[in-house]
Structure formats: C-alpha cells, structure tokens
Subunit: 348 residues, 2 copies
C-alpha cells in the first residue's frame, strides 16, 4: 500500500507515506457539548439515541467543528452503542450518567439478539453518512467508525460503563464459549456496519477499543486483537486501500502487538503512551495518531503550547495525525481548540 492515492484528503498522506510537514489534525469528540452551537441544537432535540438516527441532526453537528476550525477530517456523529441497539438490546442514555442497557446474562440472552434486523437501524446511519459526505468541503475526509467487539461487549454484558469492566471480564472467564458467540456476532455485525458506512461515503475508518486496557495479555489477544484482525481482514478484502485506524486505549506495551497483529494502518494513542514509545515502537509499523491530554485543551495558554510543540517535534518526519489521547471534555473553551489548530498549522 505504498502507492500514493489520487485524492485531495490530506489526512490520507501519512498512510501513503507522503511527507506531511504540517500533520493533519482532527480531535475525538470534536462535535459535542463544548460547542455552543451544538448545545443550542441539542437543547431543541429529542433523546440522544434519536439524534444518532437523525441524518439532519447528525449532518449539522458533524459539520459544526469543520466550519469553525477547518479540521482535516470530520467524524460521523453517532455512538458505538448503535450496534447493540440495532441487535435489539434495550438502550437508553441517562443524562449525566451515560448509557444503560439491559445486561446480557446468559447464552440465551445472546441468542435472543436480532442480527437479521440490524439493517433497519443502520440505514439511518448510512443516510447520515451520505448527507454528511455531500455537505462536507471536498478536501475534508469523513471518518466512519464502530466500537471494537470487546468494548461493545463490555456494555452489553456489564449494562453500563465501568472502571474495570469486571462484570464482563468475569463473564468471559466463566462462560468463554457463550462470550465467544457474542464476540463473533459483533465481528459479523461490525463488518456489515462498516462496509455500509464505506458504501455510503466514508473515506477512512476508526475502530474504538476504549476498554481494552484492563485485559491480561492472553485475554487481550483473544478478545481485542483477534476480533479486530478479523474485521480488518474482511474490510480490506473489499477495500484494500481504505485506511483503518485502531484505538486499543490503555493497552500499554500491548499497542505494539496490536498494531502488528491486527493489520490496521494506523494507531490512535492514549494520553499515557510515552512520545518516545510512539516514535520508536509504533511509528515504524504504521501511522501514529495522538495523543494530547484533553485536559490541556481546558488549561490552554503556554502549558498547551509547550506540549503541542513537544508532540510535533517528537513526531516530526513520521507518518502522523495530530489528535487527543481521548475525547474533548465539555468544559473545553472553543478558543483553546482554535489556538491548538493555529499552532499546528503554523509549525509547518
């Protein structure tokens, strides 16, 4: 895949080994509550889940940060839990608390899921993708995404987010066969979902494994790396040139194993990953994305500038996409985001 692609998306350059004196930049959760125009629209709208299925809302909020900051990529406004919801699991988003699902407790619960009905839900997302792609500036890439099977399963089995995913990790130890059925179902469903997004117009993909960081090495291989590798293989068999970024958040030295074994083209690094590790261990294996602390975007000022410079200097000359180590937090002043983008662009 070392051939340059005939495309105007600057974010594809690092994947094509083209020099990027100014690294492309986008930020996780760049569409969201820190933007007054998002809060305004959100206040008038229905439940969070309804919004994920509304092409009009999704298009408008996906475009908001592009208009303001001119990021090199937009990311589809959606949620990784669209997949369990499409599979028939009850899901709601409780204000200020996060998602709540009726947890899967047995093989029977897993068998009661409805893989044949997912397309009814997914088609709303595909519509949103087409609508966003037509509305975006030509030079702005559109990123599609899904949650990795492990991370999605932690919500499906645990019923909610948690510090240590203990409920799901224990379920996987105690019912490895049932859990494998769930993971296999999520692999198949995610492949269909991502292929649908590509068909509708996304230009690259990111797979979020936000809760990979508490797995022991053998469980990480089994539940994070292997399912992701299978998803990547299926997507690549139809779209060999479409870049895929993996994000095994918190997996430490496991990042290198993940990048080698899954065949993703790029790797999104969390804040705790040392810059020297990103440069020396990950960069030789693929495009590196990351990893500014989102709290420095709250802090702003010279502390922000200093760290941005440090990241840019360390990754200089490497295939690199500037991003955060985790999503933008709601209390972020938008002017700090503008300051960040200016500084990155001035550095070239």
């Amino acid at each position: 895949m070392s051939e340059p692609q005939p495309t105007g998306f600057s974010i594809l350059n690092p994947f094509n080994h083209q020099p990027t004196p100014i690294p492309p930049v986008w930020l996780m959760r760049q569409a969201g509550r820190y933007l007054p125009e998002y809060r305004e629209l959100r206040a008038k709208a229905g439940s969070f889940l309804d919004l994920c299925y509304s092409p009009e809302f999704a298009t408008e909020v996906t475009l908001q940060p592009i208009r303001r900051f001119g990021f090199d990529a937009a990311i589809l406004f959606s949620d990784i839990l669209v997949v369990p919801h499409a599979l028939g699991q009850h899901l709601e988003f409780v204000e200020g608390e996060g998602p709540r699902l009726d947890p899967l407790k047995s093989l029977d619960d897993i068998k009661a899921l409805t893989p044949d009905k997912v397309e009814e839900k997914f088609r709303h997302v595909y519509e949103a993708v087409s609508s966003i792609r037509s509305a975006l500036p030509e030079e702005t890439a559109l990123i599609g995404f899904c949650g990795a099977p492990w991370t999605v399963a932690t919500y499906m089995v645990g019923g909610r987010g948690s510090v240590d995913q203990a409920v799901t990790r224990l379920f996987a130890y105690q019912n490895p066969q049932a859990f494998k059925q769930l993971i296999d179902l999520l692999v198949t469903t995610s492949v269909d979902y991502l292929l649908g997004q590509v068909k509708a117009g996304v230009n690259l993909l990111q797979i979020f494994d936000s809760w990979a960081g508490n797995l022991s090495d053998d469980e990480f291989l089994k539940w994070s790396i292997d399912p992701t590798r299978r998803i990547v293989r299926e997507i690549k068999s139809q779209h060999p040139n479409l870049p895929i970024i993996g994000f095994p958040r918190g997996s430490g030295p496991g990042y290198e194993t993940y990048l080698k074994a899954t065949n993703v083209d790029g790797i999104s690094c969390d804040t705790s990953l040392p810059l020297s590790y990103m440069r020396d261990h990950l960069s030789p294996l693929g495009t590196v994305q990351g990893n500014l602390d989102p709290l420095l975007l709250v802090t702003g000022g010279e502390a922000l500038d200093r760290r941005v410079d440090e990241i840019l200097e360390t990754m200089s000359g490497k295939p690199f996409i500037f991003n955060l180590g985790h999503g933008i937090v709601p209390q972020t002043p938008p002017e700090h985001v503008a300051r960040l983008v200016d500084r990155i662009r001035a550095a070239g």
Copy 2:
C-alpha cells in the same frame, strides 16, 4: 546489593539474587472481606478508619491470611489515606462507595495542612507494626507501605477515587506551583511515615501509585517518578539493604522508565502488563512481582491453573514474587486462594 542477606525471609531471596525455584507469594488485599473471619471481626468493630489505628484489630486481621494460607509475607493492615488524615484533612469511608475527603481547592487549603501533627496518628500505626511483627511467624516477612504522593494527592484534591483523576490532573496543570508544594509535603511526610514503619519492624516496603496510569509521559516524570525517586533516596540513605517495591499501576511502557529512574528494587505489575514485557524489559532491571488477574481467583478451576502455570513458566529463573495485578475482590472464594498457593508451591 548482590550479597546474600543473613535472613530467613524467602521473599527477600529474589532481591538478593538467590535462586527461587518456588517463588515467594503474597497477595494484595490478602487481609480483607473475602475472608469470613475478617467479616466477623469487622461486623463487631467501629469505622474503617478507627480500625486502621487499632493495633489489636490490625494485628489480628493481618495475621488471618497468614494462618490460613502461609503466605511468605504479611502486609500491614492500613490504608494509604492515613497520610492525608494525619495531615488534618477530613476523611471518612462511605460503606459501598469508598473514601470521601474535603477536597483541597487552593494553595491556602494546602498551607492549612498540619505536618507537625502527623506523628500523633502515625504512632498508632507504628504500634500496630510492632505488635504484628511480634505475632508473626519468624519466617514471614512484614511489608510496610504508603501511597505514592501522586496517588494520595488525587484523593486529597479530587476528594474521592475516580476513573480518570481529571480534577487533580487539571489542578496540576492550572496550579503547578501549588501542586508541587502538596507533592513536596507528601514526599517528606511519606519518608517519615515509612522510616517510622521500618523502625517499628517492617522488613520491606511497597509504594502504591495506583492512579499513575492516566498521566502523560512528562507529567508522569514530574508527579510520579520524581517524588518516588526522592522517597526511595531518603529511605535508602538510612536503610540501604531494605527492599522497596514500586507499583505504578497502569503506566504501560512507563514501567521501564519508572524502574530505571526511581531506584526501587522491585516492581509490582498490573494485570494488563504482558508477561513477555515483564520478563524481557523489567526483569533485567529488578525483582518483578505480579500479575494474576484477581478475577481468575473468583473463577477458579482450570482457567486459574492454566494462567498460574503460564506466569510461573514465563518468570521461571527470574527474580520473581508471585502476586495479583490488583487487590483480591470481596467475592473471591477462599478455597481458590488455597488452590493458588498449593499450585505455586507444587511447581517447585
């Protein structure tokens, strides 16, 4: 420090480069709620904090798991938050929720702490240490401990445990000078506290940096590694042969930097750290301790046996202490702990 020590404690062997065909074993939270004899005693007693200052209670519960399982080391029954409490910060343990402190919000709050009064509280802990040391079998080592300044500070500034320590990380970005004063105070206080424990009879030390895992590399150096390095230097200046184990939980590739830079003798590994990383990157630098998933102790059976064997095989011939990657959880059946200890001892 390559001279063998004239001591009967098997847990000191790895630090003295003596062969350990059967690795010494102890488990974090080995004294605790999973033991019926602990729950029985706990039900009759007062607040958790009172218990930490009761030499009688601390002695009894520290000994309980030694009687049952014959671990190679006991660990002082106490809590890392004794330090902020001794510094005058209001602290209570809310049943089922964890610790609650009146959070420090400014330099003035930090200046209002009472370092001159800590010994009033600490002497109860020292009494417990002496009492435990006299009651312990001769061949069982006693581990003293404290929280690392960063981790203790996350509770003092955040007021409670949290997934991402965002309150404290932001405070450190926004008020680096005030935060440094707090860290410096914790360094001094922790040194006094650990020296007091050693004087009272502990045989080795562990420094728990349980919340080190969300710091970026530069903040990790500043707030985790550097304060720990200073504590280790002070302890070593008086007790050059006393082993000190560090536990920078969740710091991934930062483990290696930490082990090199702090001069701890041993490193406690969390569950997510790959066994190959422990063997190839950490083992050459010091004694490795870890890292069985505590949830496998809940699961038991062959899944437990298989992983124990894998850990033993990987670390075979290396200076190694068998432990968990995190504390024992309350729902652990004690018979699984017995099975674990049997399997480790049979492997020699």
